[in-house]
Symmetry: C2
Subunit: 152 residues, 2 copies
DNA sequence: AGCTAGTTGATAATTATTATTAACTAGCTA
DNA sequence: TAGCTAGTTAATAATAATTATCAACTAGCT
């Protein structure tokens, strides 16, 4: 799945991408540049395969394993977030700001949403002696579009 | 992963399992019986492979595809819930009562927890025109056990 | 007891991801 | 600015998880 807008492809300057990579101490290579730019442009969550195919079109030499390696580096560096919600392949999100997800069970579309505050889990955490690092709401349902389709 | 207690193996009578299957209109077969009983006993989330191995020990004739087919039927019928949280294989949960999950990023242990009420998402749902069917909190962090290990 | 649609087991195929490794190169250093 | 080296890449193989196919079998109706 990939809901990006192609005409935005130049919205992120080469400089911005290079700066991001350097900021987290990753070497700047053309492959990383292309992959990070893809993720930034197609904010709507791309899979490793989406990224591979897209870059491969223009640059047939890129390797699948490079895409996976790179995505792993990016995740570890905090540049992107891996989303394992839903079936099938992981998606990679440039939106590292804490947010939640709505998955349409009909079409698979994944939508970000935000809440003013996180649910209070202090008592649960205390009770289970669990150290909470991250907390996300994962909502399943039917998106506006698929509701329309079902009506007709 | 499998955190069950073997001595509970008889806690669920044949009758209970048969009743559950009939209640949702599924034919009663020895395979379905064994798989559903396994899930009920090992409430602590079993993967398809866990279930396959466990049943295969006593009944070497059972097939992997039967396990997958059966789990799919069970999910569709609402007897079990598939959990795709975390990396690797899906887990199957007999606990169909609404609840949330805590995943230990060190050891992979998945713990259920409950909240008195669901977060209020009516305004988000309205804004995005999204029909919400299900809502789960997915928490990542470190379990009590792994915290102890890290200290020492 | 016989029939039939639903189920199973064996196997192959597919999809997603990780491992391996020799060749290559980004960016430091002289 | 050339040379060095550790980090990176591409190609490929391997693995893991899941789905597809289909002939043989069987649960449960009649």
């Amino acid at each position: 799945m990939c809901f990006g807008v192609t005409t935005m492809a130049l919205a992120h300057s080469e400089n911005e991408v290079v700066t991001m990579l350097k900021a987290v101490g990753l070497r700047v290579t053309p492959q990383r540049d292309a992959i990070l730019r893809h993720i930034l442009v197609y904010r709507g969550h791309s899979s490793a395969d989406d990224i591979y195919r897209s870059i491969h079109e223009r640059w047939p030499n890129i390797s699948v394993s490079t895409v996976y390696n790179t995505l792993k580096s990016f995740s570890e560096a905090g540049l992107v977030k891996e989303i394992t919600f839903g079936d099938g392949a992981s998606l990679f999100d440039a939106n590292t700001y804490p947010h939640h997800h709505m998955l349409c069970v009909q079409c698979g579309q994944l939508t970000d949403f935000y809440l003013p505050e996180m649910p209070d889990l202090t008592s649960v955490a205390k009770e289970l002696c669990f150290q909470i690092d991250e907390c996300q709401l994962e909502v399943r349902g039917v998106c506006a579009n698929c509701q329309d389709i079902m009506k007709s």
